[in-house]
Symmetry: C2
DNA sequence: CCTCAATATTGAGTGTACTCAATTTTGAGT
DNA sequence: ACTCAAAATTGAGTACACTCAATATTGAGG
């Protein structure tokens, strides 16, 4: 492991085949510093905002040299993604536990869900984003920007994995489908059949990230942000259901 | 005129009421420098790319001091928007002259257009973006980023005006409507009636900007970018037409 | 216990966008 | 022609993200 490694990347153990055989003093020290940097960055980003926080401040708060911070996150933006990935790590189960369509959810008639029901479920799926934007508008804006336009780097990729998982959830709702629990996206690539659900899911995520930012700049015309997002979702739901 | 002024903002003439009465040596000198800066920035951005171009290089190429560049564009990003606004200025008539729906366009049956026809027209409307991304991928990515996430500044607002005009064109196609030539967006705000067309237009523009960037990073899965964009448009067209 | 290659840490140094106090230029009033 | 306030221009200076050569630390092998 030469330089920056993703939080995953469980190190190849030296002799034994077990995963965490003997962490070793060095790895522990590094992990400790990593944790301190993470905590410091998180706190400072929340308090002062992303732009206003200096890398030197993060280093000082974490009690390491500036260079060490860059060892863990090659870029200020990557540091933000590192914090974001850590924060979103806990939400995974919550999202997985979200209500599945097709199981007796109160609402529509038979097997098919009413469009409004689907839209509501999707709105629930994105609600963490909306909440984050309400609580920490400035850093969240940067997260959105980085997700959509950032350079490919390890921490960002972790965040992207979360985003893609969310897209899959949304796509499942758009399909109104019963194969919601399938994760094998690789094997299940029905390349010939154009997947409107996947397109719609991406559109929703993109649209939400952008519109949230726009609302922050006061550029959302008259309506509330929730209304804007709901309209957006409704439109995509309608479009996806129209595609058979 | 104290600091940076938008390209418009025709100066309040000193005595007479005419618009361009006597430009004055000073204004002419300034306009001249502005033109040199614009040309230099455009050339350098195209040749070297946005990131690789230094503000000092722009200043040198334009034969002004660095500070003077910042007088005209407060930020490197603003300089990019200034160049973009200038480039897009000429496309206005071309866009306005784009085929109007409802006039005898070859295609569908009666008054209503076939969905595929509408999608094709919208694809035509966004084709300049796509072409720009093909020709100058790096700077265009930055333009997209700046449009969606940039800070509010005068040159950016000009670009946003172009984008909004494009959205209006798209919205008109989505409506399949006959009031395509109405520009009085302010007066014609039917606030109560939720406008699916406007939502759809925004979604399309946002989606196109983001997906173009994603394709640049090689993240578009298997399919060609045109296919991705077409799916996106088709979905929104379907969704908008479903909304009455 | 000793050695040494691999790795982590450090912080002074670098590059570059942006600032601002000082200077120059302009043109209206006299 | 002269004066003077307003505005434009200038470029040395600042702030801050990021680099990298030097140093310190670790742990496996002898």
């Amino acid at each position: 492991m030469t330089t920056i490694e993703g939080a995953a990347a469980a190190g190849t153990s030296p002799t034994t085949g077990r995963e965490p055989p003997a962490p070793g003093r060095r790895e522990r020290a590094k992990a400790d510093k990593r944790a301190r940097i993470l905590a410091a960055a998180r706190a400072l980003f929340e308090e002062r905002g992303f732009e206003a926080t200096l890398m030197s401040e993060v280093a000082q708060a974490a009690d390491v040299a500036q260079g060490t911070v860059f060892q863990h996150a090659a870029t200020k933006a990557e540091l933000l993604m590192m914090v974001t990935a850590a924060l979103w790590g806990g939400h995974e189960e919550a999202q997985a536990a979200a209500p599945r369509p097709g199981r007796g959810v109160p609402g529509a008639s038979g097997t098919r869900l009413a469009a409004g029901e689907t839209a509501g479920q999707i709105a629930d799926l994105i609600s963490p984003f909306v909440a984050a934007m309400r609580r920490w508008p400035e850093p969240t804006t940067w997260v959105a920007r980085e997700i959509l336009f950032g350079a490919d780097m390890p921490h960002r990729q972790q965040v992207l994995a979360h985003v893609e998982a969310l897209e899959d959830q949304i796509a499942a709702r758009l399909r109104g489908a019963e194969e919601a629990d399938r994760e094998d996206r690789q094997a299940a690539q029905p390349d010939s059949r154009t997947d409107a659900a996947a397109t719609g899911a991406r559109l929703i995520v993109t649209g939400v990230l952008v519109e949230l930012n726009r609302s922050r700049q006061g550029r959302i015309d008259g309506a509330d942000i929730d209304v804007v997002l709901r309209r957006l979702i409704d439109l995509v739901v309608a479009g996806a259901s129209a595609a058979r």
